[in-house]
Symmetry: C2
Subunit: 298 residues, 2 copies
């Protein structure tokens, strides 16, 4: 009776693992510290072994930090590739999990999985396509669904690294992306806020100018995504978005930047229902991995 | 024997009309000056009437300037909507053509049609998906194919209006987009070049710094499209791209901006084959409209 699905949300600081059938039927969850690949993946696999022994686990979904190789015909399919994280460069996460468990394994980026989770488990999101999920935390990531499928191409999306206007006279912080300095992630991730203001983002008071600046950068990203993808729903999650009032500041700033050019009521009249918080809270990625595993068996 | 297809490329200064079966079998072409909607559309329709009378015309494709309404369930489907062009606001181009001819009519943006033309008529482009077509001329437009379908969403793409870095100390020109000032189109369209340098772009010498600046702005746009869409092929056309050496400058600048982050051989080793000129020259849009008409009958 293989009715359960497994999820591994593979992050740079922790691996979250889950066994569930859907968001309302979560059997078990654990959190594992990210050390080296062999140890971390073996601990994740060990979490699933009892379910495997009882013949309950149908498939596992992995939602991984990146960049990852999603090209099925590539010899390094399922690897984490050029990450700067020590020890994880060219780690074969898919292969190790698949070989250890011997059941089907789905594999995608953490943000693509989160997009898929919000899209497929949340009734109101069905058919809101193109569908965009953005996470703003340690990094900034963007997952995209078009015609019901996650967007893959030459690689996967990397829209956290969009280049946006940066007025040095207003914000002299040079950015901290090791590749691009002042790309979106270099200007607006949690660590970028901490480095610019000299204190963790969550300690900045609600009326600190940091939040208006943060809203502007995120709004530039979102305005660019709207012009490029014309999404019908944008979900904006991640740790930084827990700040009270930030979502509303972003919504206002997106309208300000677009300045009426995209003349549709969804934007002009229903912004509260257009850029929204995740319905699944901080479990979008894990429940997305469950949905990916489920899809694999359908 | 309805074997022929019609195309209308509806532009702000001229309407190009064509009857053809494919790029190698073009029966007839005409160019009509864009005046008011009734007159211009009636002249276009008159061009097709002889073929209709002989029962030769199966369908017509329209590649239109925008913004246009592509929502089939909308009462204004097939209209040009919020254009600033005098007399054309809320012009029912699809409806007038369809009612006058009484045969199936396909309808999309000029750049989406051009993307579809380059994708479907050029053998080497098949399966190069996601596929992006960019035109740089009077305006800047971007057409996108994903999984073989043109990207539509809330509206159509408007990536000519991407917000990109603009260093006022290097380029004090404030931009000329009536909605966004220094968005991509406001900085890098043909008219923007003319306004910045005080002379039409095509009169600027090959070694003028205008071309390096133009390459930088286009490269910011392309780098953002790569991060967002992860395309397998980018076609870069339009009048401004006729400038000798500009394509190569853009290719170099894209690599400079991405700085090795998107680590795939298609970008790092095969750039000459990744960002390319249109195979169909200045007929991408018209032949795309022919392809859209053909698709309608399949």
């Amino acid at each position: 009776m293989r009715k359960l699905f497994g999820a591994i949300e593979a992050g740079g600081t922790k691996f979250n693992c889950m066994v569930a059938t859907d968001p309302n039927h979560i059997t078990e969850e654990i959190r594992i510290s990210t050390t080296n690949p062999t140890e971390t993946i073996e601990k994740s696999v060990a979490f699933f072994r009892p379910y495997l022994a009882k013949n309950e686990l149908a498939a596992v979904g992995i939602a991984s930090f990146g960049p990852i190789d999603l090209n099925i015909s590539s010899p390094t399919y399922g690897y984490i590739t050029t990450t700067p994280k020590p020890g994880w460069r060219m780690a074969d996460i898919y292969g190790q999990v698949q070989q250890a468990l011997g059941i089907p394994v789905a594999f995608d980026t953490d943000v693509n999985a989160a997009a898929f989770g919000e899209y497929s488990w949340v009734e109101a999101n069905h058919q809101l396509d193109p569908f965009v999920y953005i996470t703003v935390g340690t990094g900034i990531g963007v997952g995209v669904l078009i015609n019901g499928s996650l967007l893959h191409g030459l690689l996967h999306g990397e829209a956290g690294h969009l280049r946006i206007p940066h007025d040095l006279s207003q914000d002299p912080f040079k950015g901290m992306c090791p590749f691009h300095n002042d790309c979106l992630e270099g200007l607006a991730s949690g660590p970028a806020m901490q480095k610019r203001w000299g204190t963790p983002a969550e300690t900045l008071p609600d009326d600190h100018p940091a939040w208006q600046l943060e809203a502007e950068y995120l709004a530039y990203c979102i305005a660019n995504l709207i012009c490029t993808l014309s999404p019908r729903r944008i979900v904006l999650g991640g740790g930084v978005m827990h700040q009270a009032g930030l979502l509303q500041k972003v919504q206002q700033q997106v309208l300000h930047i677009l300045n009426g050019y995209i003349h549709v009521p969804e934007l002009l009249e229903q912004m509260d229902n257009y850029i929204v918080s995740p319905s699944l809270g901080n479990r979008s990625g894990m429940l997305g991995a469950i949905a990916l595993a489920k899809q694999l068996m359908e």
